[in-house]
């Protein structure tokens, strides 16, 4: 077995996360049905990021993983954010 005790996520935590994710889904649908122009996109993406964060942290157990994995996951998302930012800098100031 592993040297350090593996963390077992409780049923309760998983249930709470699911309820949160479902509520956030409802909020996204409500928010995007309003006419808020650019803010529709911003809000929908912010909520999607929160949902993604919850899935990665709790469902994918990153919260209780090795520091190496945490850093790697952070770097991949940072890399993707950079690609998006650089591409749009190019498009906006062309």
């Amino acid at each position: 077995m592993n040297e350090h005790a593996t963390h077992i996520t409780s049923y309760k935590t998983l249930g709470v996360i699911l309820v949160t994710l479902l509520s956030l889904t409802c909020i996204t649908i409500l928010v995007t049905s309003l006419e808020l122009h650019v803010w529709n996109v911003v809000l929908a993406l912010v909520i999607a990021c929160i949902k993604g964060f919850l899935v990665v942290t709790y469902f994918m157990h990153i919260k209780h993983e090795n520091i190496l994995l945490k850093i790697l996951v952070g770097m991949v998302f940072a890399l993707f954010a950079l690609i998006i930012i650089i591409t749009f800098f190019d498009y906006l100031y062309r």
Partner: protein
Amino acid sequence: MTEKIEHIEEHRDDFAAKLGMWIFIFTELLLFGGLFLVYSVFRFAHPQEFHQAALELNVTFGAVNTVVLLISSMTIAMSLTALQKNNKKLSMLLLSITIVLAFVFLVNKYFEWGVKFREGLYPGSALMFKLEHGQLIYFSLYFFMTGLHALHIIVGMTILSIILYRINKGTVNPGKYVFLENGALYWHLVDLIWIFLFPLLYLIT
């Protein structure tokens, strides 16, 4: 007796197995990330046509599938918890529910695409080429991204079925469950991608 145990002990590195799975997940994230980037750039270039095309999508189909995937993501996480807590039966039950939910997702997708196909809207159809350029790009991306995602659902179902078989056989057990862990990671990835696909394609108009 002790000598025997030493011989049985196999070389095992669960962390390395998980690290490998994560590296694969990174490649998947960047694959879909690239598609999201293509989507964003074309949306920026054709805002009006993307708006028109996005209104054609049925939010209900998308919302139902979101709920199905989120629940399935929880059931597989619980399946791992159950196996870690030495409850093989519950673990297998929760894993089976996950596989059934994956199938429900595909059935729902079949009906969603079916409606579009009947309207004559599918890749390469005559109607697609009559659309404006931006709309053509939108629908091509819609079919490609949801299609690639559905392919991941099918692969996930296959992997989860193999894990179910192996838990039943006992080769995946409370002392050795990294295969279930990695299968669950793959399934969460599929859920994670959908979390972004749903607002981008269905909700933002």
